[in-house]
Amino acid sequence: MIYETELLPFAVFLAFVGVVLGISVHLARRAKSAGAYFAAHGQVGWFVNGIAFAGDYLSAASFLGICGMIAFFGYDGFLYSIGYLAGWIVALFVIAEPIKRLGRYTLADALNARFQSRGVKLVAAIATLVISLFYLVPQMVGAGALVKPLLGLPHWAGVVMVGVVVTVIVATAGMVSTTWVQFVKGSLLVVVCGVTVVLILGRGFQTPQAPIAADSVQWIERGPNGTVVNGAPLAADNQLDSRLRAGHGVGFGSIAALPGGAKETGPLGPFGYLETFSQSTITTWKKTESRTAEGAVRTEFTPVERKGSDLLLPGANPTFKGVRADGLAPKLDFLSLMLALFLGTASLPHILIRYYTVKDAAAARKSTVVGIGAIGVFYVMTLYLGIGAMTSGALDPMDSNMAAPLLSRTFGQWLFAVISAVAFTTVLGTVSGLILAGAGAVAHDLLRDVMRIELDDGQQVKAARVAAVVLGAGSIVLGIVCEKMNVTFLVGWAFNVAASANLPSLVMLLFWRRTTREGIIAAMSVGLVSSLAWILLSPDTLEKVFGYSAVEAAELTIVPFSQPAIVTVPLGFAVLVAVSLLSRPRTAANGA
């Protein structure tokens, strides 16, 4: 699809960035000590922190990725919503309050509270950096992917823009400004999506002016001789959509038949909307790719009518197709991913450091409740946003990430401008949290505690600022280099790695007295390395990252499924217990 440069979204985004940078520079004076820089003096109110949790957590993958996946495949995207939200229960009931009590600035602080061990700090800091990196790359690539259609700028421009703004935010006032960026973003995201959902329900469903015939195939060929759409060169009046050769009044993704043969429903309530959808027939588009004799890549879209009730069930997306297969083996990917989402949230360093910004465990608890409320409301809305996009007739079949912004455009330019600007700020909020977590791991854990470089309070802040700039620059480079990589699934992997590397140690440290420093070092190292290795050798990576075909990937891989958590999390627990028991006598001799 050809996108025109839109000035309105850019203006709204610039206005937001201006406000955010103004706040950051203004607050920089207040962030001179390590306590202020890393933890905002521990004086952030619980409500603000709760909303900031939403701003920190709801990444581009949540907003654009989930809406896009629901718009293309139905219920499968909602599985992520459920898993991401359920993970907060682990955070609230198991991890939050002890973490608040044990640590000061970083996750490594809490893990090392009992041991004062350089080894624990080193492994925890490395885990923080690796997990944050996995999380960071898709956000930065997402920024580039957004800027192209929304502003008509090249990919690198979006990456540089977001990278520079985030680096300024984190380098100036650390957690103080990051908190406010995340608070503003969290509130904006929930409110703007709420408005969109109200508009979706108010509009209800309509059928196209003329039915879309089953043989009306749309295709695009991209090759050395340019891009051809349906036999003619790509042009403003010859695009994949072009209202599907006119006469239909809609593009990709529409209702084929409403219950009772109605033409439109008018406004619907939240349950009525889902009920009507499940009784309707929806025109979805099956995508097939092939290579022509001239070396062009031909992508063909064939309309497929599907029942709404079927689209509200898991298993339509390739990632989850095993759910519909027989036997246990094909379902392991699904089970493993749901486990990773559940256990990963409470192991994410950039989320956990927010617990150090409130004054005590009670505030940590209350802010988690607020966070769950805000995040829960958002995730419920993703189903409506996704279904709204699926039936809006405005999908870009080549880019599922654009589903939510394109849906908003059907309600007018202003909503499109605001949603696009919110999508950018979504990237800002999450990336600042990630860079701050990384800067803390470098300055506070690695330089000060592992390398034992003498740093006073002010020097530690300076070191963190330098680390933030380096990490910001690194993330810009990665965002540009990884442009062609399919990155939306990287976030799912970040959850796998986080759950495998951090969760066994966090839980056992809190609940098993015999946990030793050797046990923690071993469990974290094994969890990190095994989950990373598993992911790198998985069929998914071979196919999506290294470019093998599905058949080749299945032959080459040495792991049976792509999501490692179901194996590597128990492995982490087992290693921790075994090594702790083996190393117990030495620790006892030390006087524990």
Binding site: L312, V323, R365, L383, R448, F511, A592
Partner: protein
């Protein structure tokens, strides 16, 4: 994970050590030396500084077990109870409220239920921190 016993209280010595660490921090101690680390082990039996509450912990773990069961039930129904031979024949496919299937209702319930349990926990654990 889900079978974790609510009896498993938090390690008190761990909190004592953390409290000692916090005191060092307040006193401006530059960095943990081996001697300091050793002295923390001596502090193991000191009363906890911030009155950690076992009751809140037990309530939290109980609610956690409830949610774990609900989440596991959802995942298991999706994986094993909904499809046979590739076709939906029950489980999450069954319409439950106003024609909306169990997949959606259970999903909403897990999200709304998480918030409800969180509010309940905050209510039951209130005042436990003094």
């Amino acid at each position: 994970m889900c079978s974790m016993s609510p009896r498993g209280g938090i390690d008190r010595r761990l909190l004592a050590a953390a409290a000692a660490g916090a005191r060092d921090a307040q006193a401006g101690a530059p960095r943990a030396s081996p001697a300091l680390a050793a002295s923390r082990h001596v502090c193991d039996n000191t009363p906890m500084q911030d009155g950690f509450n076992r009751r809140a912990r037990a309530i939290g773990l109980m609610l956690f077990a409830v949610y774990c069961a609900a989440y596991a039930g959802f995942v298991a129904t999706a994986a094993f109870g909904t499809f046979s031979a590739g076709a939906a024949d029950g489980g999450l496919a069954r319409p439950v409220i106003a024609g909306v299937n169990l997949a959606v209702v259970y999903g909403f319930a897990l999200i709304v239920g998480a918030f409800a349990l969180a509010v309940l926990y905050a209510f039951l654990a209130r005042g436990s921190d003094e």
